[in-house]
Symmetry: C2
Subunit: 215 residues, 2 copies
DNA sequence: GAGTTACGGTACGTCGCGTATCATAACTTT
DNA sequence: AAAGTTATGATACGCGACGTACCGTAACTC
């Protein structure tokens, strides 16, 4: 059995619930965070279906019962982890330049998937998100919704600046911008700046030749 | 990877293996197909992580050992099933009309996911495809590659007709056409004709206003 | 018929799940 | 400082599925 109980770097964005401190032990959030960290590491290393809570407990330096006291299932634990990891990669700054902002939209998604534990974790959970509403619905309601809103804002600013057609559908815009990124995540292909630029070029100009733009 | 003993071709083109008939029982392929059918039904009903080979055996009217004799693991069984289900939804007819063909490209993907068992099965296997090369590599090498080639042909015909810009990157074209479909498969949203049309409209015209097309 | 082989069935050890129980450590209250 | 409260780590348990091993037998060839 593995003994390395390395709690590695602390991930971003923890939750801070209003907690009433009562007699007895004070629900040290160190344990809470240690469990999430161990879960993250083990998912990254072995994937979700080989995530075993007894290993999580061992690596977090915690009893198995402590985990079951706080989360009803492996899925709930994974969901909390996923939402915590997702949030940092969504915001897009208003730079005044539409192309820049669109590229940032794609690059933000890419960087979240390639340069942070969010990538391996969501990869491991894709099926569950797609199949299990208990995971999928909260994820859609928070992460996906936030990303749609952020890109809607980018498109909106582009329209104001006169750079973007007024009739662009913002939901579809999100999907053609970020969908390709997830396509490559699943089905292979480089996720780099060149890809981001290529997607944005394609989307800004469109497929059609100028003379055919009313085809 | 140890595939079944070559009794069936892994891809969906019918089965015509050179079979050496030897004494003893003749590897009835009825059993083989019954196992695949049962696997498909159970994945559709309960998802991949609740797919239990003892149930597959029972539903297929087969001993559990028979399954283990032919496939090394649940994943290999699922892979063969997946490849068999994927192929029918890829070909795109040359209609002479670029917009029609692009719409068909998106609609083919949508129909494969919504109107056939391929949808539930790939949903259940997304994570494994994204994480496990033993599943992902064969899938990419066959299904994804075929789809890329098919869409490359559509783009090529569009260029010949003068409808599509000559500098469109065909890989990126595949991704912006089909990526949105998989995005919605995972993260929610209707998968219907309206969506397909909306994607194609967006992609043909592009985001940019005409006067900004060189932005 | 004799020979061969895959077959269905079953029993087995292993492992992770999720629950229950318990003595104890950590902290609050008085 | 002592008493009271509560979450904690540890351990044991039953359950179910995994994957293996072994059987007697059915199906087919020669």
């Amino acid at each position: 059995m593995r003994v390395s109980r390395g709690a590695t770097s602390v991930s971003a964005g923890g939750l801070s619930p209003t907690r009433v401190v009562r007699p007895g032990r004070p629900r040290s959030d160190k344990a809470h965070q240690a469990i999430l960290d161990a879960t993250r590491d083990l998912i990254v290393e072995h994937g979700f279906s080989d995530l075993h809570l007894e290993h999580v407990a061992a690596r977090a330096g915690v009893g198995k019962s402590t985990i079951y006291r706080r989360w009803a299932s492996k899925e709930e634990l994974a969901l909390e982890l996923l939402l915590a990891l997702a949030s940092p990669h969504i915001a897009i700054e208003d730079t005044g330049n539409t192309r820049e902002e669109l590229t940032a939209s794609v690059n933000n998604a890419i960087r979240g998937l390639t340069r942070s534990p969010f990538g391996p974790v969501i990869r491991a959970l894709l099926s569950h998100i797609a199949v299990d509403p208990a995971l999928g619905d909260p994820f859609r309601a928070t992460v996906v919704q936030a990303r749609r809103a952020e890109i809607a804002a980018v498109i909106g600013r582009g329209i104001e600046r006169g750079d973007v057609r007024r009739d662009v559908n913002v939901d579809v815009a999100t999907e053609v911008l970020v969908g390709p990124v997830y396509f490559r995540l699943m089905f292979g292909g480089e996720l780099d700046d060149e890809f981001a630029n290529s997607v944005v070029d394609t989307l800004l100009q469109g497929f059609a030749t100028p003379r055919q733009s009313t085809m």
